[in-house]
């Protein structure tokens, strides 16, 4: 595997992810058409100069829908990963520092959470809190917590045992100082790579939840729900199903490529991140 190929992965990933995020942001203030504007007389219009990707079953502009539809997957994914990262990484890091009962309890809790399929959490949350982005974020976020606990526990354990942490203790520094000044910066690389890979998973997860009606709610568009609606229209207008599907795929790939590229850049010898963890 030569370097250029790997750098290409990083670059391609960054371009795709940047592009999708930018598109989502732009769509909040501008889209070619109002994505909520109905034009039933003009439904199922084929791609053309007016509507680059045609219109859907209610005459809405597919390109605009696609742009705004990125907000859900990207937003949910980012916030869910943030939840998982903040809670999980903190818990994992502290568990690694203490050893003993606290560490045991953290790891058991993490195993316990891991045994709950995220989908079930999402279904139960939908029924209690009502459907929507928040519930998708929380459900996916809960799912991420054990993952990040494992990652940060594994990554910070050698740091806590390293010579420079011992030296910091000899230098009279307390655990909080060591955790924030030494451990966190040193596991940041691992966490970054995982964050990127998990973001890709988050996009897929949000799409799945939206697809079964648990994510972003109408009238706001979201790729997963566009797929759900397009499913019955597949024989009539395949593009309606293909466009959001491709959008999901490209975005997921973007985050994956970014993760692979970052891994190559931050951890070239695979010292901290076993590939089996990183590819998911």
């Amino acid at each position: 595997m030569n370097r250029d190929f790997l750098n290409a992965r990083l670059l391609a990933g960054a371009i795709i992810v940047g592009g999708v995020c930018l598109m989502a942001l732009i769509s909040l203030v501008w889209t070619p058409y109002d994505p909520l504007k109905l034009d039933i007389a003009n439904r199922f219009a084929p791609p053309g100069p007016r509507h680059w990707l045609g219109t859907d079953q209610l005459g809405r502009d597919v390109l605009s829908l696609l742009m705004r539809g990125a907000v859900g997957p990207v937003g949910v994914s980012i916030s869910a990963v943030t939840i998982g990262l903040v809670v999980g990484a903190t818990a994992g890091m502290l568990a690694a520092s203490s050893g003993g009962v606290a560490s045991y309890a953290t790891l058991r809790t993490s195993d316990f959470l891991f045994a709950f399929p995220a989908l079930l959490i999402a279904i139960l949350l939908r029924e209690t809190l009502g459907p929507g982005m928040l519930n998708a974020m929380v459900a996916i976020g809960i799912f991420y917590i054990p993952i990040f606990i494992r990652v940060s526990y594994g990554a910070s354990l050698p740091v806590w045992r390293s010579g420079y942490v011992a030296a910091a203790r000899v230098a009279g520094r307390g655990s909080l100082w060591i955790a924030t000044v030494h451990v966190l910066p040193n596991i940041a690389g691992v966490l970054t790579v995982h964050t990127s890979v998990q973001l890709s998973l988050g996009v897929l997860a949000e799409a799945s939840l939206s697809y079964i009606g648990l994510g972003v709610q109408p009238p706001q568009p979201s790729w997963g729900r566009m797929l759900l609606e397009a499913q019955t229209l597949l024989p009539i207008s395949p593009l309606l199903a293909i466009a959001p599907g491709l959008a999901i795929m490209v975005t997921v790939m973007g985050f994956n490529l970014l993760g692979a590229g970052l891994r190559q850049a931050l951890d070239p010898r695979g010292a901290f991140i076993p590939e089996s963890e990183a590819v998911r």
Partner: protein, 315 residues
Amino acid sequence: MIRAFAAGVASLLATLLVASVVIFAAMQVLPGDPAQVMLGVNARPDTLAALREQLGLDQPLAVRYWTWVSGLLTGNPGVSHTYAVPVSDLIAARLGVSLPLAALALALAVAIGLPLGMWAAARRGRAVDRGVLIVAQLGIAVPNFWLAMLLVLLFAVTLRWLPPGGFPGWDAGAGPALLALVLPAVALALPQSAILAQVMRQSLVDVLAQDFVRTARAKGLTRGQALRRHALRNAFIPILSVLGLQFPFLLAGTIIIENVFFLPGIGRLVFQAVNQRDLIVVQSVVMLLVAIVAVVNLLVGLAYAAVDPRVRRAA
């Protein structure tokens, strides 16, 4: 080995006990009245009360929890509100679809993913390797339900080779039943196999770079012999852990895919039961799914121990 097993079982039971409390509590906060759902808009309050009493919903929480858990232990958690049949029968019938589906998908994923990964690893750095990596990247990124839609369009609607959904039942013969599971299994398996291919490739590449493979070659083993006798078995260890990690995804995927293909499996049951507020079914199925994940994790741990003597001792 036996000790590892005993320790695993002990923590499994603890997990399940906590899970049962959490799940039962979650059911209690679900809004919606099962009786109202069953009787519809024209039902009168006294009719609803009569039904609630029939269903045992007027009992205190602790009693209901105890009835349920002790029922779980004896293998019959209760009677479904809507179907009025034992939950265990209901679940058993649905498992008859979900388990073969999951097994078929897993087998397919392994059968496609591992050889592909090995092939790429054996030709690492060459065109084949790159091709496999790119295909795997695509495969990982494909949402399985989207793949399912496209498969149905192609193989069921256009080519009419395979049924578009539904399940004839095993008593219709293994042939038609398996045929009905082909498309769902493929939709589930392809993304999984992409992951497995990637992990297999990387794991094998890593192992091939290890000193003991060089040692083996220094003994006079050919490249192929070293790969077969030394590298493969070591490379399977990460595969095991990935299979364990992927299992919950496979399960969630099964739930979604069952809905796409209208298969009467556990996933459909849980959706339907939630909608009908058939709480006893919901909590029993969720419990079952949690138990499955926990058991699979335990099995993966044991498989580790079986493959890797280092773990055997440490555990």
